[in-house]
Assembly symmetry: C2
Homo-oligomer: 235 residues x 2
DNA sequence: AATACTTATGGTATTATGTACCATAATGTT
DNA sequence: AACATTATGGTACATAATACCATAAGTATT
């Protein structure tokens, strides 16, 4: 793409004459920043990296990277995620674009916020020089992050809350087989709201998106719950 | 910003060594494309321009423009809108980013889709060389648009539908004083769904977001309806 | 002037959905 | 065996959604 970057003014069809040379428009970089959400023993956590270089050296930040010229945006986000967590085919979606002029100190970098839901058990940190700079942080106790990353996290969590009932997401954070109690605890954590247990069951089961398995919970000191699996998302 | 574009590899903190020079990342342009929605005699319409230059010369397209180096994304979108319609302070929001590698034939242009709701009566096309290339098109009869603009329109309409009940938007498409019948007809057009008149009234009035005025419809050949105005959005 | 026609508006009955709460079941622990 | 704990099924009640009817208030027609 960079080979044919010989733009002429007319080739991009402005409404009126541009006041600066057309090449000046082609000086932006795109980045993706991923809010990677996990769930561990009742707590929501987010995967952060510690920056090893300026700007914001030593500060915690969302994992992210510049988009390569040959990459689609979604591919860049998947690359960041799989490189950091070793996970593929993970639930992932756009949150919002952050395009403030001065959001990045070294140049015009526009970032696209993504969020993804991962099962923290499946996650195996890549054995690399970066591993020691990676850590899960409690959502409620996030440090001050580099750039506008706190804003991105907030936006991601808002989107998650909005979508949870409508799209019935969140199961990605749980093991493949789970109990109704586990989903309820998870949704209560995400939405910061308590539900009546019996009613929650009814509502969720009536949606037909869960498959009851012929298996029960093991090694619990009370009546074991039936295990369920998620239906293939068809709608 | 373009003055200090002397990036070193470390200044952007990659997870691992980049396989291309850092400057290659800073060759993108950002654009905004606006789905400007209006409502005219029961029909939803979208403002399109006819492209006067390659690529896609002669084809209809969403109004949009490149983002200037000194502009925030939202500012660019507002600029496009006000330049084309003369309107300011209009309802406007991000829809989605479109970042496919080859979406723009002349270079790497990532576009941010916006949508806005305007009162088509207030709209006065700017008297300019561009005026004759501007036109409102019925949503149901859109031509094939340049680039991926049909996708953007579809995404914008989807977002509008999702938000209409939750955020009670759409009034922006109507005159300042309107009847309940008018809102209902509008929402029915947008959502492609019929509602019971009496129930729709109750539901909408119970939300407390409308102010009943001491005025009635004029010059209608039936019982005139009471006029309402929109409450200051406080929540 | 009376009648027909059209849309607005208020109301009620019915149905569906959401909520509170209780009873019993099934397991491990003491 | 009694108890603690969570699961699960069920019922009673409250609230919201829906269907539908009756009347009101205008214009147009006869």
């Amino acid at each position: 793409m960079s080979e044919n970057s010989q733009f002429t003014k007319n080739s991009v069809e402005p409404y009126y004459g541009y006041s600066i040379p057309i090449n000046e428009f082609f000086r932006c970089a795109l980045s993706v920043d991923c809010t990677i959400i996990g769930y561990d023993k009742g707590d929501l956590k987010i995967l952060l990296i510690k920056r090893g270089a300026e700007p914001f050296k030593g500060q915690w930040a969302l994992p992210g990277d510049l988009m390569y010229p040959y990459e689609n945006l979604d591919q860049a986000a998947e690359r960041v995620l799989s490189h950091l967590t070793g996970l593929e085919d993970v639930y992932m979606d756009q949150v919002k674009v952050f395009g403030e002029v001065n959001r990045h100190p070294v140049g015009r970098v526009i970032t696209v916020g993504y969020y993804s839901l991962v099962n923290i058990q499946d996650y195996k940190p890549k054995a690399s020089a970066w591993a020691h700079q990676l850590d899960w942080h409690l959502v409620d106790e996030l440090p001050e992050l580099a750039f506008d990353h706190n804003q991105i996290v907030t936006a991601a969590l808002t989107v998650l809350k909005e979508r949870i009932w409508k799209d019935e997401i969140g199961f990605e954070l749980l093991p493949e087989k789970f109990t109704l109690g586990q989903i309820q605890a998870l949704w209560e954590t995400i939405l910061q709201e308590k539900f009546d247990k019996a009613n929650f069951r009814k509502k969720l089961l009536s949606s037909q998106s869960l498959i009851p398995l012929n298996e029960n919970q093991q090694n619990v000191s009370h009546r074991p719950a039936k295990l369920y699996a998620l239906c293939n998302k068809d709608k």
